[in-house]
Symmetry: C4
Subunit: 220 residues, 4 copies
C-alpha cells in the first residue's frame, strides 16, 4: 500500500546525503498521506545509500506499525507527535547538518543576517531545550518552539524542519544549513549586527507574496 | 526565438551549482542578445537542477515579458537596470556564495591580499548599501558601486558580477568566491596587510596585457 | 587464499577517500579472518584509487608475511599488536581525517557535545601519547587508551578506530570525524559546555539497546 | 613530438582540479623530458576542464617556443629558471590551494605539527619573498628558498612544488594543502607547539628509508 508515498519518502531521505546534510545513518525524513493520515518514515539505522522504497515503514499517527519489515526510526514517536499537533504539517525532516548543529550545541538562535534568512524565516531560527531521544520529548520541543516557522534547532542534537510535504521540509533543511553556515562564518570574525525588524518584515512579506512560480505560503 | 541564447543562459545557470556557488533556487544568470537587445534570464524559484532552455524567460530591457511560460527571476528589474545603464555589459550573475556573502553580511570590502585579486580586480571588491529585493534598487546599488570592476557585494545579501557575456560573469563569480575564501581564512588568524598599491597596479596592468590567449580587456 | 577477505578489506580502504577521510596514500584499513586469525591489510604507499583486492597483503598476527607481492602498511606491526591484545577486535581503520587530526595536534580530547557523540562514544574520545611510526608503539598507545571505546586520537598524527570488522571501523571513523568537526566549529566561537554525565549515560544506554535494526553492542 | 610527455603533463594538470587544488584557469604543471631537456607546460589562461594533450606547449629550457599553437603559461620563465638551476627536478606544479595560500598571504611558514609533515618535509614549509608574475622572479624565489625540500609558499600568491616528475609534484601539492589545512585549523583555536626537532628528524629519516614500495628518496 501507499507505494507512491514510500517512493517519495525514500527519495526525500536520499536527498539528504546528496545535499551534504547527513552522514552515515543519522537523520530521517517522513511524510503524511493526506487521505489516510498514515505516515511513511525511514527505518532505524539503515544507511541512506542502501535505502529502497520497500524499506520505508508505514505507521499510524500514534506510531503503531501498519506496514514494513524494519523497525521505524527512533524519532518516529516525535514525528507522530508533531503530525498530531500540527494538522498543517505534511512532511518532517531531521538532520545533523554541521553548521546548524553548531548553533544547537552552543544553544544560540541563528540570527537574521541576510535577505535570504528574512525571506525564508522572517525571524531567528530558535533553539529548543534538551530532549531525550526515543520518545515524544523531541516532538514536544519542536511543537513548543517552531510557531509559524519551518525549522528548529534541537539543543545539543541537530535540526528539525517541517513543510507541506517531505520535499518542502528537505528544501527548508537545505536553507537552514546555508543560513547557519554564513551566519557562523560571519560570527567567527566578531559580533555582527542582525537586519533590523522593519527590513526583515518587508522582506518576509514580499517573499510570501512574490517569490517563485506560485504563492509560497507559510513554508520556506 | 533566441534558442541559442536560451541554451547559453541555461548552461550559465547550471554552472553555478556545479561550481558550488549556489544552493536550492537562489541565484541567477542572464545574458543580453547583442543584436536585439533582449535579455534571457532564469525563471523565479526554479531549481538549477530542473532548469531547461525552454524555462529561460526573454524580457526586453525594461523587463517586459517577451517570451516564456514562467515568471522571470525576482531580480529581473535589477538586471535590466544594469543592462540599460551599462551598454558594455552582456552578462550578469547573482549568487549567495558563502565567503563572499560573509563579507556582504559584515559590510566589509574584500581586500587585495593576493596577486590573483590584484590581477583580476585591481582594487578591493566593494560592498553596496542595503537594497530591497523585487524592484530596481539592487540594480542601482550595483551600478553606483561597481565602477570599472566586475563584482560587487550586495549588503546582507550576496554577490553580483558582470561580464561581456554570462560565461565571463560566471567566471568572475567563481574568482570572487575564491578571493573571498582565502581572504576570510587569512583574517580569521588576525589582521592581514593588503598588497601595497604599487604592487597591485603593476599586477593589474600586467594581467590585462599578458594573461591568457588574447587580451583580457577590462573584465575578470 | 582469503579472496573474500581481500575484497572486503579493499572495499573498506576505498571507502575512506569516498568518505573524505583520507587523501593521497595515507591511512589504511585491515580485517582479521575469524577462522584462521590471519590479517588482511593495505600495502604501504599505494594510492586508494589504484588499490585492487590482489594488492591486499595477508600477514599472521605477529606481522609475518603470509601472502602478497607488496610490502604491507608501515602500521602493520601496530595493527597486529591491537589484534593480539584485543580478541574482540575484527577490524581496524587509520585515517588523518582533518578535524579529528586537529584535536590530535592540539592534544585535546573530543568532548561530548551532542547526543550523537553520547550515543556512539559515551565519553570523550581520548588522545594518546606521541608514538614513533613503523613499530608497535602506536599499537601500544591504542590499546592503553581505547578502553571500551571505538576510537582514539594518536597524538600529532591522526585517528585509529576499531570494530567487529573493517566496515564497522570505517563507520566509526566517519562518525569520529563528524563529531570532531561540529565540536571544533563550536569551540572556535568560544568555550562550550559538554553534556552532563547523566544525559550522556542515559543516551549511551538507550543507544546500545534501541538504535538500528539489531542490538548495536559495544561498537560505534 | 613528445606525445607521451604532453599526455602526462595534460593528466597532471587535470589532476589539480580533481584534487580541489585549483579553480578556473589558475595554476599549472610542467615536466622535463630527461632525454631532450625540453619542457612541456600548460598554456596560459586555458581552463583545466577543456585542456587536451594537443594544447600542451613545448619550450626549451630557456623558455623558447619549440612546439604548440597556444601561448605557454605566464609562469613558464620561472619554471625554466628552476629546471636550469636544479638538474634533479623533473616536474613542477603551481597552485593557489586555499589553506597553503593563507600561509602565503600571512607570510608564515607552515609548521611541523604532524608526523605526516615530519615524514614528507622534515622542516617547516618556507614562505618566499614577493615576486612579480611573468618573468623569472618567481623562479629565483623558489630556488633560493626550497633547499632540499619539495615545496615553497610564494608570498601573497600560492604554492610551488617540485618532484622527480609532474606526478610527484602533484602529490606534493596535495600533501602541502593537507598539511596547511590541519595546521591552519589547529592554529585557529590558539597557539600550537610544533613537534620537537628530534621527533621530526627521526620521522623524516624513517620515512625516506621505509615508506612505500620502494625508497622514497628526497621527494615528498
Amino acid at each position: 500500500m501507499l507505494e507512491r508515498l514510500k517512493k517519495t519518502v525514500c527519495d526525500a531521505n536520499k536527498a539528504l546525503p546528496a545535499a551534504g546534510l547527513v552522514a552515515g545513518t543519522s537523520g530521517n525524513a517522513s511524510q503524511r498521506d493526506p487521505e489516510t493520515g498514515l505516515i511513511a518514515i525511514k527505518p532505524s539505522g539503515v544507511s541512506f545509500q542502501d535505502l529502497t522504497p520497500e524499506d520505508i515503514v508505514i505507521v499510524d499517527e500514534n506510531g503503531n506499525l501498519v506496514e514494513g519489515d524494519l523497525k521505524p526510526s527512533v524519532d518516529t514517536a516525535s514525528h507522530c507527535y508533531v503530525y498530531r499537533a500540527r494538522k498543517d504539517v505534511g512532511g518532517i525532516v531531521h538532520t545533523h547538518s554541521r553548521y546548524a548543529t553548531v548553533f544547537a550545541i552552543r544553544g544560540e538562535d541563528i540570527p537574521v543576517l541576510t535577505t535570504l534568512a528574512a525571506d525564508l524565516y522572517g525571524k531567528p531560527i530558535p533553539v529548543t531545550g534538551y530532549a531525550t531521544i526515543g520518545g515524544e520529548a523531541i516532538g514536544e520541543e519542536i511543537v513548543s518552539h517552531i510557531g509559524n516557522g519551518s525549522a528548529v534547532l534541537l539543543r545539543n542534537h541537530g535540526v528539525f524542519t517541517i513543510g507541506r510535504d517531505a520535499a518542502q521540509a528537505v528544501r527548508s533543511a537545505t536553507y537552514v544549513e546555508e543560513t547557519a553556515e554564513v551566519s557562523y562564518l560571519s560570527m567567527v570574525l566578531g559580533p555582527v549586527q542582525p537586519l533590523d525588524s522593519a527590513a526583515i518584515d518587508e522582506a518576509r512579506t514580499w517573499y510570501l507574496k512574490e517569490y517563485g512560480q506560485k504563492p509560497v505560503g507559510s513554508g520556506a
